[in-house]
């Protein structure tokens, strides 16, 4: 008998290319044990369409920072929804949201809004090009900055000119970065980087000591923009932006995932000196003035500040990572949690081909833990220490089963 997930997918494949596409495509995870569709979610748990309850460690791939269906944020969104969502003119909440971001983010003098990270990473590099009158952009090899043709990780629909002006350097290698500036003197508009390196299917890499200092100095000297793509990490390392966690100052920064706690919104903030250039680069979208998402973002930012959410998720994440590594070590399973503890990427030593992490996540799925084998996990502020302890016990059972299978 087919499950509800399978039945819905059968309908989906008739009318949607691939049935489900993008990072949530079953093929990108474990289609043999993860559900295809979710029914509802609350706090740190979700229920799939077949009624199975999962303890979640993906948080809508990072979009949920305060837990699913956070009551305070839902109240703010509902209250705005009663007045309307999208109008002919922007609503006052847009100004309020910009004011909060400018007040919260130390280098920010202005803010603009869109719906997704990609909308504004692409716009940000255009602002840099407008201001510098240069064409090249440098990014780190393997870094993800969105779905536009200059950076998307897919293979289809590309033409050679898409990436002609995109250069790449190896993360944590400022000498390599310098060499690109030497090779293309006065032609580089911007360096766009995530606060730490989170390439897909690979362990995360934190910046080495002095990396950000070096990158900042190079950009300053070469008069190129330093753009921080804080779409994934924003709100999970520091409430004032991830640059504060690593102690550097970008020219522009882009946020999205944690900003609206599940409501579609992204923001780019920048220094005053780039305000005029930013106004020259056209920016709009059908629903980009969505007042409900903005009201949700305001509420989300207020909670983050009031409760020190970044510190909390870091602390809960550290507890989770330490416990999980320790349990794994005791059971001779060399699991390493890489990257920041609030959004750790699991890696099994020597498992370059990912077989072991896939098996581990399969066994964890049987225990009701939603651990993704190919993407960094996310801790939300709805996770409690009790829920983490409970999850660790289940993970330990999964490691037991994995060891029994290996023997």
């Amino acid at each position: 008998m087919k499950s509800n997930s399978e039945l819905i997918f059968q309908r989906a494949k008739r009318v949607i290319p691939g049935g489900i596409y993008g990072h949530v495509a079953p093929a990108a995870g474990l289609p043999d044990c993860f559900p295809h569709y979710c029914k509802k979610a609350s706090g740190y748990k979700f229920e799939d369409v077949d009624g199975k309850e999962w303890i979640d460690f993906m948080c809508g791939f990072g979009a949920i920072l305060h837990g699913y269906s956070n009551a305070e944020i839902e109240r703010a969104a509902t209250s705005q929804r009663k007045m309307g969502t999208v109008f002919n003119q922007p609503s006052e909440v847009m100004v309020e949201l910009a004011e909060i971001l400018v007040q919260r983010i130390d280098f920010a003098d202005w803010a603009v809004f869109a719906k997704n990270g990609s909308d504004l990473t692409t716009w940000a590099i255009r602002v840099a090009r407008e201001k510098t009158n240069r064409k090249y952009i440098i990014k780190a090899k393997g870094a993800y900055h969105g779905v536009d043709s200059w950076c998307d990780p897919g293979l289809g629909g590309r033409i050679p000119s898409d990436r002609q002006e995109i250069l790449e350097f190896n993360w944590n290698d400022p000498d390599h970065l310098s060499s690109l500036f030497k090779k293309f003197p006065s032609q580089i508009a911007a360096v766009i980087l995530t606060p730490y390196h989170h390439p897909s299917f690979q362990r995360s890499e934190m910046p080495t000591a002095g990396f950000w200092e070096n990158v900042s100095a190079i950009c300053r000297k070469e008069e190129a923009f330093l753009i921080l793509d804080d779409v994934r990490a924003g709100g999970r390392l520091h409430d004032g932006g991830s640059h504060r966690f690593f102690n550097f100052t970008p020219d522009l920064a882009v946020y999205s995932k944690g900003l609206g706690n599940g409501y579609a919104i992204s923001a780019c903030v920048g220094k005053a000196e780039h305000k005029l250039a930013s106004a020259e680069v056209f920016l709009t979208g059908s629903c980009w003035n969505d007042a409900v998402a903005m009201a949700a973002a305001i509420s989300s930012l207020k909670i983050s500040e009031r409760e020190g959410v970044a510190k909390q998720v870091l602390s809960k994440g550290k507890y989770f990572c330490d416990q999980l590594e320790s349990v794994a070590k005791k059971q001779n399973f060399p699991l390493l949690m890489t990257g920041p503890p609030s959004m750790p990427y699991p890696f099994v030593e020597g498992d370059f081909n990912l077989f072991k992490i896939q098996e581990f996540c399969r066994f964890c799925a049987e225990e009701g833990l939603y651990f993704h084998p190919h993407h960094n996990w996310f801790i939300s502020n709805a996770h409690t220490f009790e829920s983490i302890d409970h999850s660790i016990k289940k993970a330990s059972l999964a490691i037991d089963k994995l060891s029994q299978q290996s023997n």
Partner: protein, 232 residues
């Protein structure tokens, strides 16, 4: 054959020739009487399917013939060793028959899988865009139907990709398991939908996903450009 380097405009014809060769070799392994096709490039416009040069097609004609359009090989070469030419022709007919079967045995699916993989490998090695996508990639991809081995694709140290019908002990980077013969047949023909078939568990993929994403994309690209020798 391995070291031959086709010109840009003859890659699809060369992929057909290599694919036919892979099919013939596997048939010989299975004790089916066929001639071993050993293709050779004859300049930028011609390809011989045999070592003896008795079955030589222009690039255009080889693509045509694989696509089901009538096309003839070089007559002079055909008449040089008529018996051998007949053997090559019978081999082509036998390969076609395997494609046209309504139901396939595991042995037949293995023949078609190796032929299909050889098409993809030809693109991995010679098609400039495909090569650019595979820069820095290496490893081994094993293909199974249930627990039965079908074939593999691997990259040697000199960055040359090749197919194999031997299940070596070398640890694979990816294991692809088709749930049944019909799905494997679709796989051999490049008719797998990577998103749908994975979601529906028709194909189980384990291992280094980025490698199979690239390999899958390139094989679909190859299969789009190269007619399947179904209608030879």
């Amino acid at each position: 054959m391995k070291n031959d380097h086709p010109a840009k405009e003859q890659i699809s014809a060369w992929a057909i020739a290599c694919s036919l060769s892979a099919a013939s070799k596997e048939m010989i392994e299975q004790n089916i009487w066929v001639q071993c096709l050993q293709p050779e490039l004859q300049g930028a416009s011609w390809i011989s399917l045999t070592k003896e040069n008795n079955m030589v097609f222009s690039n255009v004609n080889l693509v045509r013939v694989a696509g089901g359009t009538f096309a003839i090989p070089k007559i002079a070469c055909l008449l040089k060793k008529p018996i051998k030419s007949l053997g090559a022709l019978l081999t082509l007919i036998k390969i076609r028959r395997v494609y046209l079967q309504k139901k396939h045995t595991i042995e037949q699916v293995r023949i078609l899988m190796l032929a299909g993989l050889e098409t993809a490998v030809c693109y991995l090695n010679f098609h400039s865009y495909s090569k650019s996508l595979m820069v820095g990639e290496s490893g081994k991809i094993d293909f199974y139907v249930k627990e039965k081995f079908l074939g593999s694709v691997s990259c040697s140290t000199n960055n040359f990709w090749e197919t194999s019908n031997r299940n070596t002990r070398e640890e694979p980077s990816i294991i692809i398991t088709f749930k049944d013969l019909n799905t494997a047949y679709r796989g051999a023909l490049g008719e797998i939908d990577p998103l749908v078939d994975a979601a529906e568990k028709n194909v189980l993929i384990r291992g280094r996903i980025p490698l199979i994403e690239k390999f899958g994309y390139i094989s679909r690209l190859a299969m789009k450009e190269v007619p399947i020798p179904k209608t030879l």
